[in-house]
Amino acid sequence: MKIRGKVVRFGDNVNTGTIIPVKYLSGAAGLGDLVPHLFEALRPGIAPRLRGSVVVGGVNFGAGSSREHAVTAIQAAGVGAVLARSFARSYFRNAINLGLPVVELDTRSFEDGHRIEADLDLGEVRNLDTEERHPIRPMPEIMRAMLREGGLIPYFKKHGNL
């Protein structure tokens, strides 16, 4: 699995309320209603730039709530993958369960606008602008299998159990 995209860079401890404020949920009939509000307190107006991008965070990306909207809204915006030095466990799990590639690696040298390519099979991320190669921290087999199948729902349909 290969993902290419331009970096949209965030800092440490980006929490689920910052990704998509919970206050919009009770007025949102669908994910399309959430997309314009993605990251709005941190970077107002960023939503249209997310299509085809790779979101890059520092440590503890996705802290806070276990709401899946913080994953599905990012998917609906057209983000190819999220890269971070570390993730909150619930965000990491939700992303895998929903088929959004999430990758743990040292992201400190990534800058806004860098073009990158993540090769999940090879286990590395290439920065096409700086030519740097970064190894991906390996993930458990059960997570790799779910990502291969496209998420927990197709995985469960295929295997009938965990």
Partner: protein, 425 residues
């Protein structure tokens, strides 16, 4: 080699011995779904062709975040969950019943050694009772409800050795904020916290629940108190079985990834200042900051003991002019006790707005949200920018007694610094 309490519970739930770092497929002892994630849980169950759940008596749907429903869409979420619950035989706790975590605790299912899952990050609360409480997303919760199973990476544990005891006026909330300030917002990532040491015995159950509730706000997967005399007493007072509970403590020689020590006697009232939970400062540093809003409640600090502490400050006093004090009991059981003990009367006479049990404005959904320029003092767990409504509001977090004193003074205040009421509190 001994096992951590985390490893012991995970091993029991997996039906085989597992250690930190292992992937374990486990049974779940109880599964709770709240109303933010409930609609999605129902959708996934339907997509997977679910005909029922693993054991209806070990499941619960709770309507707490939208209690009562603020929008037609939210009312629709509840209708959808009710219909599905009726089909699958899942018990529903409707609006006004209380906050999901308090209801799981009161249900008696968060027992020592149990593995309890919930679609809410503060499921870690159950660790106060020695239960491995952990949050799941909606999609994996649907699978857990159908199969009664979930998978976990067994977390390595951080041992927090407690010594001494909390001084008067210092609470579990302050101890938790101290811990978060110590390790930072990401300091507990992929780990569980296990509380041990002679100081444990001095911490009452409501404070244990508060402490474990908050560990998730420094990234931890779970927090665990060992089952001891406090646990047994709490269980037996509620008519619950206490047999076999004492085994749920770490083995001597268990291996920890990190060791921390907290001298409870040295703690003072603390506050998490805007806009991060780990921005922890002594109360004295922010005293005098004017506020517009005070919020007492939530799964962190909405229990009877919290209101006793708040009311000890409020009795014979009034909320400052121009300040709104919002009080949401954590459950109907708490609400009833507040009525019986006269706490509800104290709140109303002081000028508080006494609301029905539920999450209230904690997540900015309804019922007293923060507007532009609002400065909130809250007993809740999160003070992210925009958390309670407007991005241009500020939130300070602290204990119920400090919240009450702040409501009276109109600015952040220590209860001891209020003028005398001329009445025994």
């Amino acid at each position: 080699m001994g096992a951590t309490l985390t490893e012991k519970i995970m091993s029991r739930a997996a039906g085989k011995e597992v250690s930190a770092g292992d992937i374990a497929v486990t049974g779940v002892d109880f599964a709770m779904v709240q109303d933010i994630n409930g609609p999605r849980v129902v959708d996934v169950m339907e997509e997977l062709g679910a005909e029922g759940v693993f054991d209806p008596d070990r499941t619960m749907f709770v309507f707490d975040h939208y209690s009562p429903e603020p929008t037609p869409l939210a009312a629709g979420f509840h209708r959808k969950m009710r219909d599905a619950a009726a089909r699958f035989g899942i018990p529903v706790r409707g609006i006004g019943a209380g906050i999901c975590h308090q209801l799981v605790v009161e249900s008696g299912h968060a027992r020592p050694g149990a593995l309890v899952v919930g679609t809410d990050s503060h499921s870690s609360t159950y660790g106060g009772l020695g239960s491995f409480g952990v949050s799941l997303g909606a999609t994996e919760m649907a699978v857990a409800l159908i199969t009664g199973r979930a998978w976990f990476k067994v977390p390595a544990a951080i041992r927090v050795t407690l010594t001494g005891s909390l001084p008067g006026g210092v609470t579990g909330k302050d101890a938790a904020l101290h811990l978060i300030g110590l390790v930072g917002e990401e300091g507990g990532l992929y780990s569980s916290f296990e509380f041990t040491g002679e100081g444990v015995a001095s911490i009452p159950m409501h404070d244990r629940l508060t402490i474990c509730n908050l560990v998730v706000d420094c990234g931890a997967k779970a927090g665990l108190f060992p089952a001891d005399g406090v646990t047994s007493r709490w269980l037996s007072e509620r008519g619950l079985d206490t047999s076999g509970t004492r085994q749920w403590r770490p083995d001597p020689g268990a291996v920890y990834k990190r060791e921390l020590e907290i001298d409870l006697s040295s703690l003072e009232p603390l506050v998490a200042a805007p806009h991060a939970v780990d921005n922890v400062v002594p109360l004295s540093q922010v005293e005098g900051t004017p506020v517009t809003t005070v919020f007492i409640g939530t799964c962190t600090n909405g229990r009877l003991e919290d209101y006793r502490q708040a009311c000890a400050v409020l009795r014979g006093r009034s909320v400052a002019e121009g300040v709104r004090l919002l009080c949401y009991p954590a459950s109907r059981e708490m609400q009833r006790a507040m009525l019986e003990e006269g706490l509800a009367r104290t709140l109303v006479e002081a000028g508080a707005v006494l609301m029905p049990p539920g999450c209230g404005p904690c997540a900015g959904l309804h019922g007293g949200v923060a507007g532009e320029g609002d400065v909130v003092f809250s007993t809740s767990s999160r003070n992210y920018r925009g958390r309670m409504g407007s991005d241009a509001a500020s939130i300070y977090l602290g204990s119920p007694a400090v919240a009450a004193a702040t409501a009276v003074a109109g600015s952040i205040a220590h209860p001891a610094d209020l003028p005398e009421t001329g009445e025994m509190a």
